[in-house]
Amino acid sequence: MRNPRDFRLIYDRSVPGHRGYRLPACDVPEEPIEALIPGPMARARPPRLPEVAEPEIVRHYIRLSVLNHHVDKAAYPLGSCTMKYNPKVNEDLARIPGLAGLHPMAPVDLCQGLLSLLHRFTVELAEIVGMDTVSLHPAAGAQGEMLGIRLARAYHDARGNKKRTVIIPDSAHGTNPATARMVGYETLELKSRADGRLDIDALREMVTDETAALMVTNPNTLGHFETEIEEAARIVHAVDGLLYMDGANLNAMLGLARPGDMGADLVHINLHKTFSTPHGGGGPGAGPVGVKQRLVPFLPVPTIVERAGRYDLDYDRPQSIGRLHPHVGQVGIILRAMAYMRSLGSEGLARVSRAAIVNANYLMKLIDDDYPVAFPGPCMHEFVVSCSWMKKHGVKNIDVAKRMLDLGVHAPTVSFPLIVPDCLMIEPTESESRASLDSLAEVFRQIAREARETPQVVIDAPHDTPVRRLDEGGAARKLAVRWIPDSASEGA
């Protein structure tokens, strides 16, 4: 990975007069632009876009692309992110022009094929998570959370409930408290039990008439199933609170158990995790939300409905919270997820979670001598280990992560969940073969040996990546967040 060391931006390749794309001549009579756009409204100077010919543009982006680690290259055991294989056929299917090219404001009678796929996916996804229906609108997991808590709020408002708080375990993703705040609730942090699970007694203490919802990730971020989830649901329901399940870890539960059966009233599903849609270097994802019947009246508009074999968009929903997405959701992502779900079927979906669980336990077994597991016992699809013993050699968890990059695999999630000091969170996913897990384990063991014997190698890592550790503090102080002509350097 040391070469190429070419960190020029597309701007640095600009040559005046070059261009990559041509447009046809105007085939209608033209008027002077000044006659159509009055002076004060018009742009005085053209934007400083790069001027580059097509071959150079392609080489530029190819050069950039090879600087990335990615799932198609090697293992990506990034806990909580479910970096599974992205099936190629899904990309082709979502790009069929008769689907991808449709405009959402076209008459619904001209979009019946697409609407039928979306409608069927809604029904099947609801079945998989054990809910009554699903809203496809949320554009991401975090927006799914926001919709979920917004629906909870609408439910409480409609019932005249005086609710103020959302209870969130200390092992939760940061999106949970951020979401609750965005929807106008206060958050209460529930300390986890000594074994990392929900503290049911503490929950009982904390729940009051003001409890709007409990947000739970199951399996939790330690990779453990919340054994007492049904009791937690009963406690919250007793005050007419709702159980929100964060579906970030749904990849452990396909065909095994369903959030709806556990008492969840709301659940979001990260299609970019469990349903294999590509992460795309940060997005787009999709975060549909499953709901129980009592929340259906509040779903965002429009919903996709079937009436006598014809699909339609239904806006006539007087109790709806309104609109969350400009249209009906991240349709291109939903189509990929549907292709994945259909390719697996019910049996295949169950095999996915089974293999994800077996793989995680196998990898854990291979490395737990060197990487003590934070909360021992069989895990679900991921596990959390501690690197605390390495501190006496001057090695931190982040150093282990960086050294992994040298050795050709991606790092696990570092320092999350927050309740485990010096941790790494490891999720191999079902995509990895035994051979791949064996070599991943060898990478972990090699780094543990190095931490004991030659710690400086780990502390100084990475050595062999396109760049070495970057000055993040300097970046935050300087805040060079855009290209400006004067600062253009030639690259290293």
Binding site: F7, H18, Y21, D27, V28, L36, P46, L49, P50, V52, H60, I62, S65, H70, E91, L93, L99, L102, M105, A106, G113, E127, I128, A139, G141, A142, Q143, T175, A178, M182, T227, E230, G280, G281, G282, P326, Q330, I333, S343, L344, R351, A355, V358, N359, Y362, A401, L405, S431, S433, R434, P466, L470, D471, E472, G474, A475, A476, K478, S487, A492
Partner: protein
């Protein structure tokens, strides 16, 4: 077994290595009461061949976007997409990578985001742009939340000419944390006088759209002055193609510019994934939602790029974060970036000018038909609203049957009393022949 690393024989070996007999021994934490007793009720697995049939048959039951000239817009536009875009987007290195949290092995993603941010800054005339949001609607909503936090005020003025869907999203995001929304102005471009009765010391921001929902061009400068005079912020939702010809809102006083990036590089995809643009002044950088990439150096002094100011974000700040967002619609932003690189300044200007000229050609042809009138008025870019002598829905259907053309958006559901109104958008892809056909089909549909 598709997409897993092994079959059942190997599973036995793995279980033995783990030290258990059966898979069930690994999931004893699951109460028996919660274990599914049988398969979930979804169709059995299908092969690639069967999946292609399913999806192709569904596509055939829709209109054919390749053979149906479209005049649909309303925020999503049918501009041409260079072939290079899809070829680059389908590089595994881009689309199968995660968020660049380990920058040493993610410089490709980080550098494309930095290029994206730079392009958005230059188009909008602002100093800072983030790595993108979900879509223009949620970007506008996040901008309103930002303005409220920055000013410590809770009232948001919303131009009557803002996209009706985006106005609804503003309320979905803004009402729960206590924002109040006031509609200002009607359908004509907004004037400072429209603000006067509503703007005061409690006003956090004005939100307007450029060009507005009806396609008309707003005069931003005087509105910016009126807003700033009361200590409020100006939020402009701007179209990036239009900004090739229109003055950058940031230079006219906008504090935040949001927008929809879909039309540069991505198909409409029935409304998603799109790409929310979000830019702001330097003064607001620490309140910015979403990801931000900055240039820095590595320990050997070489140029490199990292995510920065992560202390704004949910994974660090939790309930005190500026937003819960932890996505940028990165592949759509990548398409936007590569499209702009392909176009360059000259190409973008040509794309915008062709759209402008053709839209005016079509508007002249359609408005000449008896009973057809453009309303509201004012200078426009590539989109305009028409009032027709009969319901727009019927006209759209008639023109589709007659000429295989999608005439535009029926404003019936979008604007009060809009059932006889049609919103028409024109891009460089439309030919004179298609527009002449549209005009004659409209005339026939009204005869």
């Amino acid at each position: 077994m598709p997409y897993t690393g092994y079959g059942s024989q190997e599973e036995k070996e793995l279980l033995r290595s783990i030290g258990v007999e059966r898979f069930e021994d690994l999931v004893t934490a699951l109460p028996e009461s919660l274990r599914l007793k049988g398969p979930v009720d979804v169709p059995p697995g299908q092969t690639e061949l069967e999946l292609r049939r399913l999806f192709n048959e569904a596509a055939l039951a829709n209109y054919d976007p390749n053979l149906t000239p479209s005049f649909l817009g309303g925020g999503l536009y049918d501009h041409d997409i260079p072939a290079v875009v899809q070829h680059m987007q389908l590089r595994s290195e881009f689309y199968t990578a995660y968020t660049p949290y380990q920058p040493e092995v993610a410089q490709g993603t980080l550098m494309t985001i930095f290029e994206f941010q730079s392009m958005v800054c230059d188009l909008t005339g602002l100093d800072v742009a983030n790595a993108s949001m979900y879509d223009a609607g949620s970007a506008a909503a996040e901008a309103a939340l930002l303005a409220a936090a920055a000013t410590g005020r809770d009232r948001i003025l919303v131009a009557g000419t803002l996209h009706p869907h985006h106005r609804e999203i503003l309320k979905t995001y803004g009402l729960p944390p206590g924002l109040r929304f006031v509609d200002v102005g009607g359908e004509e471009p907004l004037r400072p006088a429209d603000l006067a009765p509503h703007i005061d010391g409690e006003t956090a921001a004005l939100v307007l759209q450029q060009p507005n929902f009806f396609g008309s061009i707003e005069s931003i400068g005087p509105l910016a002055e009126a807003v700033h005079a009361k200590g409020a912020l100006l939020i402009v939702e701007a179209d990036p193609v239009a900004l090739a010809l229109l003055a950058p809102p940031g230079e006219l006083g906008a504090d935040i510019v949001v927008g929809e990036g879909q039309s540069l590089g991505s198909p409409p995809s029935y409304g998603g994934p799109a790409c929310g643009l979000f830019a702001c002044t330097r003064a607001l950088i620490r309140r910015l939602p979403g990801r931000l990439v900055a240039e820095t150096v590595d320990r050997d002094g070489r140029r490199g790029f990292v995510l920065t100011l992560q202390t704004r974000e949910q994974h660090i700040r939790r309930e005190k974060a500026t937003s819960n967002i932890c996505t940028n619609n990165n592949l759509v932003a990548l398409a936007f970036t590569i499209t702009l690189a392909m176009l360059g300044p000259a190409g973008l200007k040509e794309m915008a000018s062709l759209s402008l000229q053709k839209a005016h050609y079509l508007e002249r042809a359609l408005a000449a038909i008896p009973g057809v009138k453009r309303s509201p008025g004012g200078p426009f870019f590539r989109e305009f609203a028409l009032t027709l002598p009969r319901p727009a829905g019927e006209v759209i259907d008639a023109i589709h049957r007659d000429a295989r053309i999608l005439a535009g958006i029926d404003l019936g559901r979008l604007v009060p009393g809009g059932s006889n109104r049609l919103l028409v958008a024109v891009t460089e892809k439309r030919t004179r022949q298609e527009m002449d056909l549209f005009a004659s089909a409209l005339e026939r549909s009204l005869a």
